[in-house]
Point group: C2
Chain length 541, copies 2
């Protein structure tokens, strides 16, 4: 018997619902772990189905497939142990979020998740009943206590496992990315380590799933609260954690520590991951987008190329009479720098055809939002036609500030299968553009420095109808993320009329957001499943 | 002291979030009840906020407004008692779904909902903690036990109230309509009456709220399980329920019984209510829609006119080279019969402009879905331009069969703020059209009898690319509503290849549905919040 135990944190990227594919990935991972002479592999939460399977969990057929998958994994565990996550349904039809400890061709023990998150993007109480029991498994002379995701965010499941004799805590996670999440996890685990005196192994899923990106970044914390091992973020990784079994204790050995991303790089990686996996897992041959010469489409193009490669990205400039020459020059320049297929299609002929056919309608009153939206919808229609013909998916380019206040055209620039910047405030769009250019200059400098404009009427500037973006983003953050009242926001130093106007715009744009494409959640509260507001609402504060 | 107690079931139509407006409605209702010399008024669940307020419940400001509202109601209860529903937040920030018994200027007692639904369209565990205590109030010599909505669907809260001495059960509800719901409620209450031997008063909210319609239909069941009183469906109503207090018991007196709608009439009323309240509560001056000469837009027009009046509805025919003359004749005829503003705008000029500008794109391969979608998107853009100019909201006209299999164009015929037929299967569209014509002939007979066609290419028929609608709707029901496996559906008597094709279409169309307008839920499982499927999914059965 050896004095050391080698564990692998299997930070993998499953595809939701693809049970066969996920099992293949799991078995391959076990093989690789054997080659590394590991004793134990810990997988993320709900490994077999991927997370979150949402209402697929309501289909009975899922559970027989999961059982068959589990059997395959049990059979493959001859020379290696693993802890694996999956959903289970019992004879009474009750469902549970489970983890099994599998070794030597046997399912040694299983654990039922105790804390079921039902806030933010999570709906686990829609599907699952909660467990009550600890699960501590003595394997290779070490007592491993098993926990699943939300369990580690509460005090009691860890305390219960310690009480039951656990010497090491293993936690299986599907913890979605948001800006502050990494620090939150560190802080939370520090509490658990301090309370229990136990080392903790935290294994996270990686990859994009609709609105969510899982950042990976699995890590292991010693009983002294040192991060001994750190897996890289945003990539699949098999990362070793070694334990030495001593007389009366188990010691976690310092190992590899991947360098972590700084804030902007991390968000950029989340965007890339979200785009790459939405496109890849849905089988699109690539993407196309409208490139306007503005900052949002410029950043979206950079993200798309970094995610998918220039050969899979197309950009289309669709100029009109209000499009500045510098917009066209800058768009062409960026497309050229990034090496993407680029074309320019003026929208004048379509606009004139609509103008003629809508003569009676447009004659009523002065030109207004109608004429502006028409331009945006012609562009949307052009992009969708190209998409229909070549199969490439359209990327929408709206940022969070626009999505919040409805500064975008439904069925116009909101057209697309995925909306990478949906949760990125405009001020962060600038920061990310500068960050990306600091690696290599792909966005023409002028795109970053010129005043933002939708170019839908002569000499239009965003700031003609919106507060400056620093103020706007601060107000959006206060109202949407922090649920602050108008009064509290005024006390931050903004004009009351301005605050009320922004809030009214946010409230009134819910109907547009309901029809918007999914995008990557990067903040604590994104639009989408994270924020479920009624469209019809008479609420005022 | 009187031997009888008169209770009013206050079947009202609050607006979600409009606390001031709802309080006004409540106070006015109390006044009317006083004029009817009632002793007690029972309101629906969450009366003060309307139901469901969704994430408005996460805003602290809501609770201070609710408290102020409650105080006003308490002050107005000098000569009348009421039971009223509202959300409450305690000092610890825990939230509860409550009911208060208010009388003589005092809040006599309050009840916390015990069973919090978290399935289907419901997310109550996202917001609330559950109660444990019964609440029985002795008023005018009768012991009233209070329950809230989901409580009555379980055995224990009613049993607990009986145990605590209740002689009558009052249940406050916000129970959304679906086809079978009325019978489900009757059956459920029969169980509770049989178990407890108590009469039950069931008060339901009425009106539309985004995807949901509340059908009202409040009723009261005696201890002998007779429906003694029945309020009408789909309208606001104050309905009396009288009790006679005897030596040792309380007897419910048979009262008014409104006639109930038959199945098709009931669904039609739900559609009308949904449209009327979405348009009205969101302040639109009316609606417009594309009238194609087909059955879906014909029924949508009838619903819109019945909901809003002809003067608030506009219809637009947008013919193209594939539009049959009979389509144009039938559209014009229906518009004329129904007395709505009608115009015809041929889309040929826009189509030609797009065709020219997209020459390089369209030259690749044979004409396909690209050219078809282009027609639909030009129409969508025309409708949105008119909507932008005159403020009327666009109604989308897709039915559930199309929404299920994706037989509709995103940003084309899916354009609109509301989608009345979204949950109405094509076969039911025909039934409803015939039902509506049985009242008065508003849909030209030929629209109902001719084979359905999208008219997007020469001689196109829906059945060229879809199974016949009887089969299609049966398969959709089996897969979507009943979660049946492909194998089970094949066993119903369908070809395996056909079943697999339909299921694949349903699965693959999730991305389109995610960007669709809300529509009225009329079935046990509607698309929308009722069915939360991942877009990215590798699941196969």
């Amino acid at each position: 018997m050896t004095d050391t135990v080698k564990l692998i944190m299997a930070q993998i990227n499953p595809k939701v619902g693809d049970i066969q594919g996920n099992v293949d990935l799991i078995l391959e991972t076990l093989e690789q772990a054997k080659q590394k002479e590991a004793e134990l592999v810990v997988f993320p939460e709900m490994t077999i189905t991927g997370y979150p399977p949402e209402d697929l969990l309501l289909r009975d057929g899922l559970y027989s497939q999961v059982e068959a998958a589990l059997l395959k994994i049990v059979n493959a565990s001859q020379d290696i142990a693993c802890v694996i996550g999956y959903p289970m349904m019992d004879e009474l039809g009750e469902r549970f979020n489970m983890a099994a400890f599998i070794a030597d061709g046997e399912l040694l023990a299983s654990y039922v998740k105790q804390n079921l998150p039902n806030y933010s993007v999570f709906d686990e109480q829609r599907y699952f009943n909660s467990g009550k029991q600890d699960c501590v498994v003595n394997y290779k002379g070490i007592k491993f206590g098993i926990l699943i995701c939300e369990d580690i965010w509460k005090i009691s499941p860890a305390a219960q496992a310690k009480q039951a004799g656990a010497e090491v805590l293993l936690t299986l996670n599907a913890s979605p990315f948001s800006q502050e999440k990494h620090q939150d996890r560190l802080d939370t685990l520090a509490h658990r380590v301090n309370e229990t005196g136990l080392p903790i192994v935290y294994v996270n899923q990686v990859g994009g799933q609709d609105e969510l990106v899982f950042d990976g970044g699995s890590f292991a914390v010693s009983a002294d609260n040192d991060v001994c091992v750190q897996a890289p973020e945003f990539v699949e990784n098999l990362c070793e954690v070694n334990f030495i079994k001593q007389q009366d204790s188990v010691v976690m050995v310092p190992g590899e520590k991947a360098e972590l991303f700084a804030e902007e790089a991390r968000i950029y990686q989340a965007l890339i991951t979200g785009v790459r996996d939405y496109v890849g897992k849905n089988g699109f041959p690539g993407v196309l987008l409208g490139l306007s010469g503005g900052i949002d489409s410029a950043l979206t193009l950079a993200v798309a190329v970094d995610a998918l490669g220039a050969e899979n990205v197309e950009a289309v400039m669709m100029p009109f009479r209000y499009t500045a020459q510098i917009s066209q020059d800058d768009a062409a320049e960026q497309a050229n720098i990034m090496g993407v297929n680029y074309q320019s299609i003026p929208i004048e002929p379509m606009y004139q055809a609509f103008e003629m056919s809508l003569q009676a309608t447009l004659a009523v009153g002065e030109p207004d939002i109608t004429e502006e939206n028409l331009q945006a919808r012609i562009r949307g229609t052009l992009l969708m036609a190209m998409s229909n013909k070549n199969g490439k998916m359209v990327l929408a380019t709206s940022n969070k500030s626009e999505v919040a206040v409805g500064y975008s055209t439904l069925y116009g620039d909101m057209v697309g299968g995925f909306s990478p910047l949906k949760d990125v405030p405009k001020t962060m769009v600038y920061q990310l553009a500068k960050y990306r250019n600091s690696i290599s200059q792909v966005i023409p400098e002028r795109v970053i420095t010129r005043p933002p404009s939708a170019e839908l009427r002569p000499d239009q500037k965003d700031q003609d109808s919106l507060p400056d973006y620093d103020s706007l983003d601060a107000m959006i953050k206060a109202y949407v993320k922090q649920d602050m009242s108008p009064q509290q926001i005024v006390e931050m130093g903004y004009e009351e009329s301005e605050v009320r106007r922004v809030i009214r715009l946010i409230d009134r744009s819910e109907y547009k957001r309901r029809q918007s494409a999914p995008g990557v959640k990067i903040t604590h509260r994104a639009f989408g499943r994270d924020r479920r507001y009624p469209i019809t609402s008479g609420y005022k504060e």
